[in-house]
Symmetry: C2
Subunit: 251 residues, 2 copies
């Protein structure tokens, strides 16, 4: 049995998210499994670092799979990648493939993830970012956002920032870094979150809360009470999926 | 009667080009006329600086129109633009509107235009540029392209770079500048053409010819003979529409 670790990038717009679902083949996992199975000639099941919601994008999603065929015998991956990218839909790309230990697990072995939330701050909306950024024309207070972000750093119970009400496992996570960056030449505001793991919708609720701080609807000083309250009703709205990118998974 | 000059940006992917056509309402001109007519309450016809082909994009297309209503009475354009952009499809934006002389004509008064051709040089194709750049993974000789471009500058008969075989008017045009730029951090190669006017498909054939020079299929030294020959068969292929942007129209 051979094991492979892959990196994929995709635009989530057209898909019902990452995860294979009973009633639809229109997920990114399905498209990748279909194409890999055809190319390799046996049914392939893949396991990702985590699911992404409908409309969410990835530049560096990681998954693993096993197969009986040795895929990279006389190939450093270039031939395989060129061929599979010819068969994949244009909005899903396979960027890397490498052999890995049969014990490597894309989800269980992930130690750190980076997500980015992109906001288009142009006046009428950049039409070329209509599916890949959240458009907010109203001016935002960047230093307030930075203050709010700094209060989210560290290890907390992030229950207030999780959409899953029936979460049975721990909702304690550590955020190592939140980088708030203005790209003025492209009218972009970027929130980049790095942490040891993120709960369901957590990055989108963190982003929605920071946006509300930027718009003056909340103050940064409310963050500690939101965290302590452990109640989804205390935090901000879930920012739209189309602004969210999974950038990198660390092992 | 009131006259207005407008600037619009659009992604051409979903449309059958700029120009209104008998059998389809799916053109950018139609969408703008429909929306303007509804907003203003009378039938509006618009005249652009020139048509763009199906799949070609614009960041700064200019058009003019006349109407009986005074649109910008207590408005510097912001209110009008905000409202119309709410009604327009997300891949068409109106960026500016201003009053102009009733004698202003977007096509006849244009003295200079800038077009850009974008090539995605990434290995497997940047999925976020799949509709807005032409993907070429093979390495290209940039200095050969620059040499070829320099031989295209100035005033020439560009008949060899025109798809319209039955052109009755003059095919003499002046190219003031061709800027060849590598944006290595985004894996882009950009050709930016500024001239007093461009024939049908001219920028795409110029780009196709420069691409063939870059790939070593032609030499820069062939350019003078291609120009002198005045024969479409001598020049390169018509590069795909999706890489082309109308950037700016000068008056």
């Amino acid at each position: 049995m051979n094991s492979y670790k892959c990196v994929t990038a995709y635009e989530g717009t057209r898909y019902n998210g990452w995860q294979k679902q009973g009633n639809t083949a229109n997920t990114i996992q399905c498209k990748l499994e279909e194409t890999l199975s055809k190319m390799i000639g046996e049914p392939i099941e893949i396991t990702a670092s985590g699911r992404t919601d409908a409309g969410v994008h990835a530049l560096g999603q990681v998954f693993h799979f096993h197969c009986s065929v040795e895929l990279l015998k006389d190939d450093d991956g270039i031939i395989f990648l060129t061929e599979i990218n010819n068969f994949l839909p244009k909005d899903i790309r396979l960027l890397n493939i490498e052999s890995c230990s049969s014990r490597f697990h894309a989800r269980l072995n992930a130690v750190k993830k980076t997500y980015q939330y992109r906001i288009d701050t142009s006046t009428y909306g950049n039409l070329f970012l209509r599916n890949t950024a959240h458009h907010i024309a109203s001016p935002m207070d960047i230093s307030a956002i930075k203050n709010g972000a700094s209060l989210l750093l560290g290890t907390h119970d992030f229950k207030s920032f999780c959409s899953n009400k029936r979460l049975k496992k721990s909702s304690i996570r550590t955020i190592y870094d939140i980088h708030i960056e203005e790209d003025k030449s492209n009218n972009l505001l970027l929130f980049t979150f790095t942490g040891n793991g993120f709960l369901y919708n957590m990055v989108r609720i963190l982003s929605g809360t920071l946006i509300e701080i930027g718009l003056g609807l909340r103050t940064p000083e409310q963050i500690p009470a939101i965290l302590e309250g452990c109640d989804r009703a205390l935090s901000g709205h879930t920012a739209p999926a189309k602004g969210l990118f999974l950038l990198h998974v660390f092992y």
